[in-house]
């Protein structure tokens, strides 16, 4: 299986966020329609549905394209993705109107107030999640599809 490595890298990359999208969508749908939480689901879902899987796929293509000599270990490569993802997420959420920046906290979905200190503390956790997801899940899928 040596043909189309980038296509296979893309497919391996999008699998995890596509599956987690189902979980996220289920949670948001239950919150919205089950508990009447005022989540603007149609605006929220755009980013995890369209941007995140594509970014995962493209990031995995980049990993494969860098070749075995130049690339970082896959976990570290994945842990760098939030540095690209977060600015995009904040920009999109702000422009779609469900994220506002207050004096000492940001307001998420008009119901969640997250202090900046918590956000700073939780950022390494996001890096850890990405590190583990890439090291174990994406690497497993890459192996399964015969790349990297």
């Amino acid at each position: 299986m040596s043909s189309h490595p980038y296509l296979r890298a893309y497919m391996a990359g999008i699998t995890v966020p596509t599956i987690s999208l189902l979980l996220g969508l289920t949670a948001f749908t239950i919150a919205r329609f089950g508990y009447q939480v005022p989540v603007p689901i149609e605006r929220v879902i755009v980013f995890p549905m369209a941007i995140v899987p594509n970014l995962f796929g493209l990031w995995n293509i980049l990993y494969v394209a860098m070749g075995s000599g130049r690339r970082l270990p896959i976990g570290l490569h994945g842990a760098l993705l939030p540095f690209v993802l977060l600015p995009l997420a904040f920009t999109m959420a702000t422009s779609l109107g469900f994220l506002t920046f207050g004096q000492d906290a940001l307001v998420w979905l008009e119901v969640l107030t997250i202090p900046y200190s918590v956000l700073v503390a939780i950022f390494p956790v996001l890096l850890i999640i990405y590190y583990l997801v890439w090291k174990y899940l994406v690497a497993f899928l890459n192996g399964l599809l015969g790349i990297a």
Partner: protein
């Protein structure tokens, strides 16, 4: 198609596909299989990664308001 044709086809096939010799295994494959099993059993998650995995779990326990944010980003 008559019997002569059948014979002719049979003969042609026999000539086109040479008989297979030495169909037995050249070596014992079981030791290789055992080696594979050993390799997969040895692929354990390092303690460092287990400790790292505990961090997100703790983070989500202490800051449950971050759950939707994580769902949004993954």
């Amino acid at each position: 198609m008559n019997q002569d044709d059948d014979k002719k086809i049979r003969e042609l096939l026999r000539r086109a596909i040479p008989p297979v010799r030495d169909t037995g295994l050249q070596r014992d494959l079981w030791p290789q299989m055992l080696k594979k099993f050993d390799e997969s059993a040895g692929a354990r998650v390092p303690w460092f990664d287990l400790a790292l995995a505990a961090a997100p779990a703790m983070g989500l326990v202490f800051f449950p308001e971050m759950i939707p944010v994580f769902l949004y980003l993954l």
